[in-house]
Amino acid sequence: MQRDPKLVELDEAMALAVPALRERPDLCLGGLFKQSRPVALVRAALAAGAKGLNLYSSPGAGYDVDLMIAADAVAAVFIPGVTLENRLCPNFRAAVESQRITAHALDALSVVGGLMASANGVPFQPIAALKASDVLKHNPLISEFECPITGDTLHAARALRPRVTFLHAQEADRWGNIRHLSTMVYADQLMARASDMVIVSVDRIVEDDVVLDDPRRVTIPSHYVDAVVHIPYGAHPTASFPLYAMDEEHIDAYADLGDAARKGDPAGLSEYLSKHVTGAPDQQTYIDEIGGAKRMQVLEQEAAEL
């Protein structure tokens, strides 16, 4: 008998993820801000009609979350910080201000603690470091309780179990063993341990021996992974260090379109969405449209020079 690979095509991965999200729309996204976000998977899920999503992430997100809001796929955002860092997220902002989505006021420990509880298999994670912020008054992920050891008032972060998690990493083998080559691995490993279903895009596939010769480089063993998809530049316009840097120009241009839409001129944003998202181009078409191999080389060069 032969072992079955977990390496699948993008549409096969979406055939797993999208029905699962219809069943329970809790989607968690890997990476952090402009790094290693699973953008190609996000575009594919939007093209496949994902709707009404509750979005989770490591505590900081930006472009991809804003894009999903622009595509009208989001019901609620459970992410402490949503920002493009150098500017606000235009569609996030517009959707919250017009009350089209709910943006919960949260903090990092509540989200991370909830994922820790889920990964650890316990009902909650105690938190002792939350005080005096108005965020505590509105945070739906935590509740107060009395510490059975000290008697102090602590917060319990309920186990947070995403139905589906999308991650992006640099490498995997065909069995689904994942290798992050970046220095930062964010909360990706924790999310993989905390989630019902895990789909990972990777920039390249490596031979079995690459994994076996250095098992400590495996960041997420295949046990946690339901499907791995080979998508070169799958994090664009976010970075996939050390392979390519974030495409700040692309994100800025997108944000300009978003700000225009927010101020009443949605044409540019609509065109962006129909070209890059609902038009569902394959990854090669997408790359060609956002600047092609030439643009990718610039981003690769930038990452290589660090």
Partner: protein, 254 residues
């Protein structure tokens, strides 16, 4: 025009207050804080450790507007994940940095919304990831890169990051036992907090600004103690280290 930028002035003020053997991290708006930490390490605090935000002791070759990614910090002495960050957030650091959409007279910071309510805000901000370092760490610094009547207000619309709340009593009642915000450093001036009332007050004004300039750009009646002077400008040694070793691309001067 002075021969150094407002951000360079902010950087050296912050760096001077960081001690050798301390542990701290730069926070979200990290350009100036990371420059300050690097300058302190270079000049007087070689055993100061950077940690608590997933990178330990990075050696960035230059500064970036964002300083929480592999581009800036990938060359370092170790990396961690959000699980370890959960622990650091409880154990606290020696120092941290914050800034927001609004800062009020007690040093409270708002990153969530301006006008309206949380559910129906007039303007929705980014929120904030880590709220805990502000009260688990020994102290923190407020260092926004703008200073005007809109971001310095009498009372924030929403307390994202607690400062001194409404003063000593409320701080005590909330169980905030650490120093909280020590200084507010902006492109115009340095503020600190009256130890009795914990209200913000002017400490010194940067070269090229007057006390009146600062008051005109602050959205509440800022206390001005007697004898407020000029912020000591960067020394030649500070500027040399900053420009040659830490900020060769001049991000602090753009």
């Amino acid at each position: 025009m002075s021969d150094f930028s407002p951000l360079e002035q902010m950087t050296v003020v912050l760096a001077r207050d960081l001690k050798d053997r301390e542990l701290g991290a730069a926070g979200a708006a990290a350009l100036v804080p990371m420059a300050a930490i690097a300058l302190a390490r270079e000049l007087h605090a070689p055993n100061l450790s950077i940690g608590g935000e997933m990178f330990f002791n990075p050696y960035p070759s230059r500064l970036y507007p964002s300083m929480l990614d592999d581009r800036a910090l990938g060359r370092c002495e170790g990396s961690e994940t959000f699980i370890e960050l959960f622990g650091h957030s409880h154990h606290g650091l020696d120092f941290f940095f914050h800034s927001g959409l609004q800062h009020d007279r007690f040093g409270n910071i708002n990153l969530h919304f301006v006008g309206g309510t949380l559910d129906a805000p007039k303007m929705r901000g980014p929120g904030a990831a880590n709220l805990s370092y502000c009260h688990t760490s020994t102290r923190y610094y407020i260092c926004p890169t703008v200073h005007n009547v809109r971001n310095f207000v009498g009372k924030v619309d929403f307390v994202t990051i607690p400062g001194h709340l409404d003063g000593p009593q409320s701080k005590r009642a909330a169980g905030l036992t650490k120093e909280g915000p020590r200084f507010v450093i902006t492109p115009r001036a340095v503020m600190d907090f009256d130890p009795d009332t914990l209200e913000m007050r002017l400490k010194s004004v940067h070269c090229g600004n007057s006390v009146q300039d600062v008051l005109d750009h602050t959205g509440f009646a800022l206390n001005v103690p007697e004898g407020v002077g000029t912020t000591p400008p960067p020394s030649k040694a500070e500027l040399d280290a900053l420009r040659n070793k830490i900020d060769p691309t001049g991000e602090l001067r753009h």
